[in-house]
Symmetry: C2
Subunit: 124 residues, 2 copies
């Protein structure tokens, strides 16, 4: 893991870029407790646009993390669900979530200190 140009580090970096985008984690978390239809997801993630939800779901489907099931009725019905692979991702994400919740306060304080110090430097 010492050489950042090695495949392992690249893999991690690529993965983090994917799930680190603005919507992927929210969608995965939402699908965590069961399958959802397209507009159900929209309602549960109010801030996501139709376009971004579509793109996010397509990427997740392409990566094999989410399955897409079309029921050709009228009106059409599409259900999204985590695959086994997608579910297996929940555990490591949860680890990160735990770290985040435990340390968010420390990070905010560090940011406040840093910004205060920067302001002071400007004033001087």
């Amino acid at each position: 893991m010492k050489d950042p140009s090695n495949p392992v580090c690249r893999t991690i970096s690529t993965l983090l870029s994917r799930i680190g985008d603005k919507w992927t984690v929210l969608v995965v978390q939402t699908l965590g407790d069961g399958s959802r239809r397209f507009n159900e997801l929209r309602r549960e993630i109010p801030s996501v646009s139709q376009r971004m939800l579509t793109l996010t779901l397509r990427n997740l489907e392409r990566d094999g993390l989410v399955s897409r099931t079309v029921t050709p009725s009228i009106p059409p019905r599409v259900d999204y669900e985590l695959t086994a692979l997608g579910k297996s991702l929940q555990k490591p994400i949860c680890g990160l979530a735990t770290w985040a919740t435990e340390n968010v306060e420390a990070i905010h304080q560090a940011q406040a200190r840093f910004d205060a110090a920067a302001d002071e430097a400007v004033a001087a």
Copy 2:
């Protein structure tokens, strides 16, 4: 964790955006086994530009994950090192890294299948 608009989910999402950027994880991993000077980091992460390394380190410093120690000699010397907070992030990142290495093959196969299916659809 059900409501994606709740603070916890936002926190995770924000955190992932931060460490999910192009360089942060590489820098954190590189600093994982000890402090480095600016140009040492550049050499160990050949693909990073001076600008992006500076920005990445500033953000990490601001978040309290990395400490910056200036030695006012000639030439100047600046050492970067993980703080306790930064080190504590290594464990959850490692969990994700493990998942990534274990499943990278499955993801690639899923992508190949998806792309093949898409091509087929175009051909038809």
